[in-house]
Symmetry: C2
Subunit: 393 residues, 2 copies
């Protein structure tokens, strides 16, 4: 076992601050929409920084920036995150995982650690999906899953800020991430009969608005009963016609549900549909539920997750496994490459906002844990991968 080197905490935080300035607006927020000038300037800076460190760095056809030691042949453990942002973003979402991966690779490279030959860093292109024409984001990571280069990668570890309040509330410093919730979006529509809100008695109404309101009001109970770890949100609602003195003849709710297992999503969908049909019958309306999008739940690789969990526990007692309720590149990558993630806490749970914040000590701790996870993955997984290659050759 080689001695694990120590990351350069000062460089990590300085690089984070530098990246935050690229695309910073007068509003104190970051505007690196995938492909805009700031986003491309940030990618150029990442590329240049890795070259200056003596590494080989390159863009792929999609816009992802990969760096590794030159003249190595793999297999590699991929580490990184995305460097694009939503409009008016914070400085940590994606950026932190990119900078930490750059720091870990440079540290191993500078220390001459044997694992340096088996690590590649990545800055994914268009994770957020706010770029015009984006097909819902995760563009760069999705492209990799279809690229022959995925064959050369024996694992993927992504470090990220939690983007929620769970860790802070539970007093956690680090969290190995067990998987990523699946997200299903639904459009619920109800059709009744618009009518005079004075002259039509309650019992003769076909009030589509009541169907919509009751579904929106019930969603939380439906989720909690099906899976206490699930969440749901009724985010859009509209009645037609929209007038105080007209019984709504049509109504619409747009909602989403998130859960860590497909079976839980299925159970919620069944309960939601049952409730909708019951309420529609009571209100003498017709109703329809349409799943407008479905991102499957990701359950991370047991072995990579085991390494991440072991390393996190080595660093702190204030550590517990967590499910990610936000999407990440790790979600699609996990369909092709053994994957896990780790989180550091987000102060106040804010994200996609210039209120996004994580204490420096947690940022440094996360990068240290990532470095250790990389080294430990090299010890635990790499020998088996290499021996399989020998057998295959």
């Amino acid at each position: 076992m080689s001695v694990t080197p120590e990351i350069n905490a000062e460089r990590l935080l300085k690089d984070l601050r530098h990246l935050a300035q690229i695309g910073a607006g007068a509003d104190g927020a970051v505007h690196r929409i995938a492909g805009n000038d700031a986003d491309m300037a940030a990618r150029d800076w990442i590329d240049k920084t890795m070259r200056v460190a003596g590494l080989q760095s390159s863009y792929d056809a999609t816009g992802n920036v990969f760096a590794r030691r030159s003249a190595t042949s793999g297999p590699w453990l991929l580490i990184g995150s995305h460097s694009d942002t939503v409009p008016a973003a914070g400085h940590l979402d994606g950026a932190y995982g990119v900078i930490a991966a750059m720091e870990v690779l440079r540290t191993l490279h500078e220390a001459g650690h044997p694992m340096a030959d088996h690590v590649e860093s990545v800055a994914w292109f268009d994770e957020e999906g706010v770029r015009e024409g984006s097909q819902g984001g995760l563009t760069g990571s999705t492209a990799l899953t279809r690229d022959p280069h995925a064959e050369d990668l024996f694992g993927y570890i992504e470090l990220h800020v939690e983007q929620g309040p769970r860790m802070e509330r539970a007093g956690l410093d680090l969290a190995p991430v067990t998987g990523i919730v699946g997200v299903r979006r639904y459009r619920v529509t109800a059709c009744g009969q618009a009518n005079h809100a004075g002259t039509t008695p309650f019992e003769m109404r076909q009030d589509a608005g009541r169907v919509a309101s009751r579904v929106a009001a019930e969603l939380r109970s439906i989720c909690q009963e099906a899976d206490p770890a699930s969440v749901g949100n009724a985010g859009v609602i509209a009645f037609d016609p929209a007038a105080a003195n007209v019984v709504p003849g049509a109504a619409r709710v747009e909602l989403e549900v998130r859960a860590g297992r497909e079976e839980a999503l299925d159970a919620i969908e069944r309960a939601l549909t049952d409730f909708l049909l019951l309420v529609a019958a009571e209100e003498e309306c017709t109703a329809h539920i349409e799943c407008t999008s479905a991102k499957p739940a990701a359950v991370f690789d047991e072995r990579v997750l085991g390494v991440v969990e072991e390393v996190c526990r080595r660093h702190t007692d204030r550590c517990a496994p967590l499910l990610s309720y936000a999407g990440h590149d790790a979600s699609v990558i996990s369909t092709r490459i053994p994957t896990a993630m780790l989180f550091v806490p987000s102060t106040g749970g804010f994200s996609h906002s210039n209120r996004e914040h994580t204490a420096d000590e947690h940022l440094v701790l996360g990068a240290r844990a990532l470095l250790d996870a990389v080294v430990r993955t090299g010890e635990v997984l790499l020998p088996q991968v290499l021996s399989q290659q020998l057998v295959a050759a």
Copy 2:
């Protein structure tokens, strides 16, 4: 007691059809928005028709058309309704009461009935309030309550189609109307915290959308518990921001409640406010309820209503008192002049629609009952009014 003459049913139905043609659109609906060309042409036709019948007819400064026998000095019993419509209206709302009043006055005049000297017909201006700049409608009748001419009127009776399904459902031919519901409109607003719908756990949300949905879903129970004869409607709802993946930070519901007594409206308002504050506390939001308009409940004059009820029962057993859930000119007139109304059924309850319909036999029956009510009011109320005038003189 003079013999009560018989109305000319054929003329009544012909005149109704004629008026329906003025402002008729290609959609088969009537478009006599107060003051538009069709509305003014209809008023001119009413004015001319009464003149041709040998009566004195005139516009007042507001646009109301009054007709009575010339060279009479009152007091008069006013009968009528409004001749303006909503856009795409049916042919009976308002128009029926105007035509029936014209028919009753002409019948009495032609028969030389002594009550002919004490009846005035009216076609009110802008009852509907859809005219640009209208202050909520009831413009013509409101103007009369401030006009010295009101001093000359000892009663007001308005015949109207029900505009709802209650009579048809109960198998009623005629209904004396006991009063008109008061209508209060409210804007309910809730303010929470917009947040990520995935990463924010249920118990840490301040979901303004849930406050709005729960209030909209509960309104019916609140009304029914406070007053089983009341109705309510949540007609408009909106969340902000409106996105499936964002917990709503703000939400709004526009609703109205209708009840026959102010005390019932007060009770509903209290229960609604209590429920809103309870729900807002549960959802950790702030909430506000604002009464945006309040039309007081009208309770009709006992003696005029007594006459109308007596006459209706004389015509049919299928007769029961009803509360009006729609507003009428009679509502404001009742604040100044002893008032009552009577209804005939609306087929299917449709109104403010080209599906508005009432069987000819009910239209004729209503006009006959109106004539009888006029004659009977002359017998019951007029002598007392005349004797009071003698005392005052």
